[in-house]
């Protein structure tokens, strides 16, 4: 089943003086349990592509479907709600909230969608990422690798169908980077997510099912 699908999507930035075609017409999809990576030079449009899928900006033309829903057509507020439900973000500088412990980062999700906080669930999730003894630590007390694993835990916790990771390993050394990507691949398979990872390090793509290259706004399979 296709969890992510883009139909004829383009993105043009127009600042009045000149037009930048950041994303040329693109058709693209990711299946359940598929781990996709996107590589490409700086400024080629990778982040633009990823944020359009995440609904942080709307395409100039075309449609984005998430889990069969016309995601890009939704109103701003509904899109945010859908994003909260369906999409887990992992960012370069980690998307953790500095004043919450690892446990509280996850508990925040329960507070927002008014579900019960289950300590066992949290423990088993953190155990999979081998950070279960860091539950009560603040992000500033974690190493870069631990922080990214906590960010993965946060992204997986509310059980979204899609995981979007923009250079999740940029701040890590090679060993940590491989660890994090391996975990990401493993969780994608185990939990049947559709995962897209943007990276500039081609070696990391060995864990991925499909590798795309972005160049000047044109996406092509490698």
């Amino acid at each position: 089943m296709k969890l992510i699908e883009l139909k004829n999507v383009t993105k043009v930035f127009d600042d009045g003086r000149k037009k930048i075609e950041a994303l040329k017409e693109t058709n693209f999809s990711v299946e359940e349990g598929e781990f996709v990576s996107i590589i490409g030079p700086s400024g080629s449009g990778k982040s633009t592509f990823l944020t359009i899928i995440g609904g942080l900006q709307t395409p100039t033309e075309g449609k984005v479907f998430i889990n069969d829903d016309k995601f890009s057509e939704l109103q701003e507020k509904k899109r945010a709600a859908k994003r909260f439900e369906e999409i887990g973000f992992i960012l370069q500088a980690s998307n953790l909230i500095p004043f919450l412990t690892v446990k509280d980062q996850l508990q925040l999700v329960n507070k927002i969608n008014k579900t019960k906080f289950d300590k066992k669930d949290v423990e088993s999730l953190l155990e999979e990422l081998s950070i279960n003894d860091l539950m009560d630590k603040y992000p500033s007390d974690l190493s870069g690798g631990e922080r990214q694993r906590a960010a993965i835990a946060r992204a997986l916790y509310h059980d979204p169908s899609v995981i979007l990771a923009d250079e999740p390993t940029a701040s890590l050394d090679t060993d940590r980077a491989f660890e994090v990507v391996e975990i990401l691949g493993r969780e994608t398979k185990k939990k049947n997510k559709a995962t897209i990872m943007v990276t500039h390090d081609e070696r990391l793509t060995e864990y991925c099912d499909t590798v795309y290259v972005m160049e000047d706004g044109v996406l092509s399979k490698k």
Partner: protein, 363 residues
Amino acid sequence: MFLAWREINYSKTRFALIIGVVVLVSYLVFFLTGLAYGLAQENRTSVDKWDATGIVLADESNLNINMSMFPKDLMDDVEATETASLGVTSSVVQLVEETDDDSKVNVTFFGISDEEFIFPDVIEGEAFNGDNEVIADISLKEEEGYELNDELSLAGMDSTITIVGFTEDSKFNVSPVLYTDHETYQHIRASGFGEREDEIISAIVVQSDNGDLSGIELDSDDLELYGIDEFITNLPGYNAQVLTFGLMIGFLVLIAAMIIGIFIYVLTLQKSSILGVMKAQGISSKYIGKSVIGQTLLLTLFGVLTGLTLTLITGILLPNAVPYMNNFLFLISITILLIVVALLGAFFSVRTVVKIDPLEAIS
């Protein structure tokens, strides 16, 4: 509230400092209110005590009781449920055994008659009963150490007066009142103006059943009837005082609330990138906004209530000479006002939250 609490817990020092500022500012506001109210009361407690409907003064006195003088027999021209004659004059008293200037006290004499309704309740000692005896306001005991049977000398008079009783809440124009009979009053007043044949009084205090001036009839061109509230507002200096303090307190409340508002605003700006990440994750502006407002509420509630407690404690510890007085209606209104205005400030912050673009936060 989850986010609000966790953040306060994480940045304890920062929030302690903010609460500290709120405590100090609200303490200042509350304390100044207590002082202003206390001072205002010292102008009028003796008048409030009459529970009067109106007051009759000499027509040409322009509402100034010190300038009002007329023969006591004019009382016959006033028709009301209750009437009371009142002579007012200010003077300076001193214990007879003292001579230095520091021990002189400014007072106001009220000449009254014992069968009329403005006669005060004596809480210590007894009522005056003859020449040169007075009932004094209790503040003379509390602040000056005067006792029953103390003899006082008066400026410009040879004879002395004796305190035979004390009464409560009797201040007029910020000075304590000494009540005496009309005969003694005539002597004291005359010491300043020269003897006159008739018995002179300053005012006739009137009470009517329906609490309304329409029930009072006045049959003299030389006299003028005023409502008691009008009389109080026109006490020398009273209105200026109330307005000055009122404005000061109003501005302070505004400034205090702005300080809280600005703090919250700066805090919100500082974490706008974190808030942007939250929004990128799909956490609604509504949830974040609620937590900003919740946090403001926690900070102000805690700060203002601590300020209030400090004020109440200070009020108890202050010496009697400081005209501090609690008015719970004022204290509660200011508490609510501070919190409401601070929350208004928080709404500005919420607007910035709504405007934060999650895209910028993550790129």
